[in-house]
């Protein structure tokens, strides 16, 4: 065998008393796509942060090109040709896409000053070179969607012609077509001899692109495989078997009452959207990112104001002036970006889990600590949140576990209507399975669920109906049974294909 492009040897890392990695190793060759898989909290991101020079390991060795290296910062890794897209993106929110793309390598004018025009031009060219036409380099990062941010971050890493590329859950918020795009990039890099190390919780993707897979469990690797089936991988990751990923779809009762009805809802990026969501129904929403899903969810939740149309909840017309009003009507939202819109990162798991039910946990405004602890522990136990305790800051949890806390927050409430925006983003297979079961059982027990996902497969399996949105309009409505991911994707892009 040739010299490995990158090698991690027995890496260990502890935060406070919590061991994130105990003895983690893997080896990736040049021209190989190497997947790291494992449960939420298995330590994948920690390992990638260490390989990317952002975190110093407590023990173990990193070898690049056969040479042991000590990375004392991201720059050291860059010098060795190793570039990373971290799980929590590192774009600067109040700077433009162009500035972000060319940070630290801005084009200079003849006076030696950074040229804004050239920056824009170069950024435009860069995006075009990688086939990204839908992102305006002049836009501020805070104004673009998570998927677009992810794309920008990938373009930035790829543009350095890396010898080693680490991608930590690059597809978590990407939809089918964007994933395809990314895989195109990965294949090209592989052909050029680049070694790509990536993590994902979507087995289909792993199977389609990874050459080899290293499985992690509890902070250590349990083996590297070239050919392994999903069931076996899941068993190695979790120690248990996951029967079928998707639960069987229970047909919704024929005469189920309408819980939520939108008629001709309009607003920014929303045009005349109408739908009815019934009791016990999982109504999927799909389509390419940036086509109005975000706005639809925000409008229904009272976080954005419709310029036209009506919203009816359980037969009563409502005009929500704030999320509080929507919540009072029994609606709950798991938002897109858990870091900025969902969680209070510096506060504890307990504080985050109990946030929506504080009223129930207080008497005369005074908190009942016992009950609060019990409620938080219930969230942790029922969703199997991996945490060193309910007192730990939620920001210290792994991405998937953060998502579980957020979901758990709403399950403790008595909401009837759940707006789930990409809830399985960054969630591991076993947990995904749990969430699917949960969604199905919530539907069975009479909840109405509006379910957006960037994963068309998921929509196809889980939803009674799927609304495909394009440019703020409902472009197609697909009915189960018989929905396939391909149907959803082709409905979402039909126009562009035709054009």
């Amino acid at each position: 065998m040739t010299i490995a492009a990158v090698e991690a040897v027995d890496i260990g890392k502890a935060y406070g008393g919590v061991a994130a990695l105990t003895k983690a190793s893997f080896t990736a060759q040049a021209g190989e796509v190497h997947a790291l898989v494992g449960e939420n909290g298995a330590g994948k991101s920690t390992l990638i942060k260490i390989m990317g020079g952002r975190v110093r390991p407590d023990s173990g060795e990193i070898r690049i090109g056969g040479q042991a290296v000590s990375l004392n910062g991201p720059q050291a890794a860059h010098h060795l040709g190793a570039w990373t897209v971290f799980q929590e993106l590192t774009l600067l929110p109040w700077m433009t896409v162009a500035e972000n793309l060319l940070l630290q390598q801005e084009p200079r004018s003849s006076l030696g000053l950074i040229s804004r025009q050239a920056t824009l031009r170069d950024a435009d060219a860069l995006l075009a070179r990688y086939g990204v036409m839908h992102i305006d380099p002049r836009a501020l990062v805070e104004d673009i969607s998570l998927a677009e941010r992810q794309t920008v971050e990938i373009v930035r890493a790829v543009s350095h012609a890396p010898k080693i590329l680490f991608l930590d859950e690059p597809t978590s918020s990407l939809v089918e077509r964007e994933v395809e795009w990314l895989f195109g990039q990965i294949r090209r890099l592989r052909e050029q001899g680049c070694s790509i190390v990536f993590t994902s919780h979507r087995w289909a993707e792993i199977r389609s692109i990874a050459d080899r897979i290293t499985i992690f469990r509890g902070g250590a690797d349990v083996g590297t495989f070239t050919d392994i089936d999903e069931d076996e991988a899941v068993r190695l990751m979790t120690g248990r078997r996951v029967e079928a990923l998707y639960p069987p779809l229970t047909p919704r009762p024929a005469a189920a009452p309408v819980m939520l009805e939108a008629r001709s809802l309009s607003g920014p990026n929303l045009r005349q959207v109408s739908f009815a969501l019934h009791q016990g129904e999982v109504l999927g929403v799909g389509g390419l990112a940036g086509h109005g899903h975000r706005e639809l969810f925000r409008t229904v939740f009272g976080d954005a104001h419709a310029s036209g149309g009506t919203l009816t909840v359980q037969g009563k017309e409502k005009k929500f002036r704030s999320p509080r009003a929507a919540i009072a009507s029994g609606i709950a939202l798991v938002p897109e970006d858990r870091k900025t819109e969902g969680l209070l990162l510096r506060m504890s798991v307990r504080d985050n889990a109990s946030l929506a039910i504080l009223k129930r946990l207080t008497r005369f405004g005074i908190l009942k600590p016992q009950e609060e602890r019990r409620a938080a522990q219930h969230v942790v136990d029922s969703l199997r949140v991996r945490t060193a305790g309910i007192g730990l800051a939620v920001g210290a949890l792994s991405g998937g576990n953060q998502q579980k806390v957020l979901l758990g927050r709403w399950l403790e409430t008595e909401c009837q209507i759940l707006l789930l925006y990409d809830v399985t983003r960054g969630v591991d297979v076993a947990t995904k399975h749990e969430i699917y079961e949960l969604v199905a059982s919530l539907a069975r027990s009479g909840h109405a669920i509006l379910f957006y996902s960037s994963d068309a497969e998921e929509l196809a399996h889980l939803c009674h109906r799927v609304l495909v949105m394009r440019e703020g309009v409902v472009a197609a409505e697909l009915h189960a049974p018989g929905i396939t991911a391909e149907d959803i994707v082709s409905a979402a892009v039909r126009d562009h294909r035709a054009a």
């Binding site: 008393g17 919590v18 061991a19 909290g41 952002r54 975190v55 509890g218 902070g219 939740f301 976080d303 704030s322 999320p323 509080r324 919540i327 009072a328 939202l333 938002p335 900025t340 819109e341 969902g342 969680l343 209070l344 990162l345 510096r346 506060m347 504080d351 946030l355 929506a356 504080l358 009223k359 946990l361 207080t362 405004g365 005074i366 908190l367 600590p369 942790v380 991996r386 945490t387 060193a388 305790g389 007192g391 730990l392 927050r409």
Partner: protein, 325 residues
Amino acid sequence: MSAATTRKQPFLNRERRRILYAFLAGIILFIIGELVRPGFASPSGIRAILVVASFVGIVAAGQTFVILIGGIDLSVPWVLNAGAILMVTSSLGHDARAIPALALTLGMGAAVGALNGAGVALLGIPAVVMTLAMNGIMQGLTLGLSGGMTCTSCGAYAPPVVQAAVHHSFLGLPIVLWIWIAIIIVVSFLLAMTRFGRMTYTVGNNARASHLAGIHVSGVTIVLYALSGFFSALAGIMLVGFGGQAALGMGDPYLFQSIAAVVIGGVYILGGRGHYLGSVAGAISLTVLVSVLLAFNMPDYGRSIVYGVVILALLLLYGREEENG
């Protein structure tokens, strides 16, 4: 790792350690004072310094609330002055009128604070601008309405009960210190044990996420600023009790001192982290520091320099942020 789920957080976490150190700093400064000037840390010396610290501490209670949500209250000086003047002019020095006068004054403070909060939360005015403008507005109103403190009742004394509350003792402690202790208990309880306190921290951590979780962000903000106004007015009342009469300019020193006490006590200036007990420790150690420096017979410039150097030294010992990354 799942075995770790029951692991407890250490009792003395970073924040609590910091509060402890701030208190320790105060004690050390007392000792230094005693070494320089015997009698400095005598019971009467400590009592006198704590009384002075209590005024800062009371203003700092309000400042803690608003800083916890990343705000700031620069309207302290003239809300305090207005409170002092309103107290004497409405009570006219009669005990019988003390209760309504107290209610009126505290109500005025809370109302002005609520206006600050409304400006910040509903109109989106930056807290610095809103509260600074409010300081000017209150100054203009106070001077204008009292005709430049020339109204016939402006020279009235604080009601004897109010003066007694500052000067008289109960169980060996001046009553003002009992009041402060009560405030410490109530405020700490409010922040740690109530829904309102929890909402304060969540809003301070992430207003957007709190909003999406159904927290009435603007309501919480308004109440917090109202509390700040309330405590400024209360400090005004205490100060007229202390001095007997209202004077203009009484509130000036309390702006920077209250902010300094809060941040030295470990409350994070951008919000979300900290405890009132920290602000209390900050108020005490700052007051002891100033007093120690007064006890040294040194020129004012020297005091000014030493003051800055000592605070820096203390912070380098205990107030450093975590290395991020």
